[in-house]
Amino acid sequence: MCALSHYIERGSEGRVATTGVSLIRAHPEGMKPPRSLWVPFPLGRPLGSPDQPDFQRDVLKSALDLLETATEPTIADYPHDAPTSDDDPWACAVALAPPEPANESEALRDQLVEEIRQLAPWHAEQVKRRGRTTIGISGATVEQIEGLARLLADFATGTEPSDGEIDWKHPMPLRLKFASDDLRAFYHEAATAQPGASYPTDADLNDWLFNQTLLGTVLRQIVGRMRESDDRRVSGLVIGMIPAGFARAR
């Protein structure tokens, strides 16, 4: 981000001034972009919190104000924390009670599909309420979400991947990464549609998905297989599968 500030201004030959937000203060300190607003928010939330338009607008305006106030490379500190809920801690309203994962691909796929179907009504509710989904980077549509379970079950059990109806956007092994991201998006979107005491944080959602769902267990099995692979394209993708701190069950 900081490098881009320099390159955009250079490429514009003085016609485009840059300002922006920074989540890691050490980065603008080291790379000295012209104008940067450091914000004390979680990674992934540079404007603060979802569904907080007044707060988001204030963050944006504070970064834009640097265009009028800064006269030399400047890092300003945003003074407010992102809004959070004061309600009770979040917990998924659907008790999934994940089974011991089956060793055989068909059976494991059926277990995953059963879990997906428990969440599907909530996901449909989310799509209805927000009018959109972020699923689709693997090539699967929401209607094809159960097809992703087949891919994951095949890989987790060491089974040759079977053909399905999904028009994949990527070959293996990248297909696994984006299929995993789409499934996690489905779980997250379903979980955040439920009427709960508060919105989950990223840590809440990761703890739920990796410690209380079958998908989390299967993703760990997959990562275990990927680590053992002699193919560096496969082992190198491990860091793109499971967030730091969740590679082991709690």
């Binding site: 955009i8 030959e13 003085g14 689709g136």
Partner: protein, 154 residues
Amino acid sequence: MVRTEDMHPDMAKNLLSLPLPEIEPQPWITPKPLAESTVAIVTTAGLHAHDDRTFNPGSVEYRLIPGDIDFDDLRMSHMSVNFDRSGFQQDINTVFPLERLRELAEQGVIGGISRYHYSFMGAQPEPTRLEKTGEEIGRLLAEDGVTAAFLTPV
């Protein structure tokens, strides 16, 4: 409040070990007043239109995001899993504040909004590899009459 000292040690170590190359500073640009500025968003969140290409490992390419894009058409294909995606899933403005920018334009705080916005994938192990595409974006924005860019990470 989230700071690196509050993060998982592996994540903080990774973020703080990213190279921070010295880039020769450009001559200082004195921008137009905000009320006369045309503003574009440049994000490193790995966003793109649903039908556009995803970001693959090591990509320094950019994706074009038209200013009239429907939020339902935006997807995120960032390689890193070490950041919150639930904010984006619930409200795209948490990452890509186009609706907030429109409101500032309606209020007259900024002069206007670019017809085009741009997206890269962040967490680059070698930020200087962004030089060519970054300069290209600078040229494109300038040729389109944009006077200010709001850069946001994820």
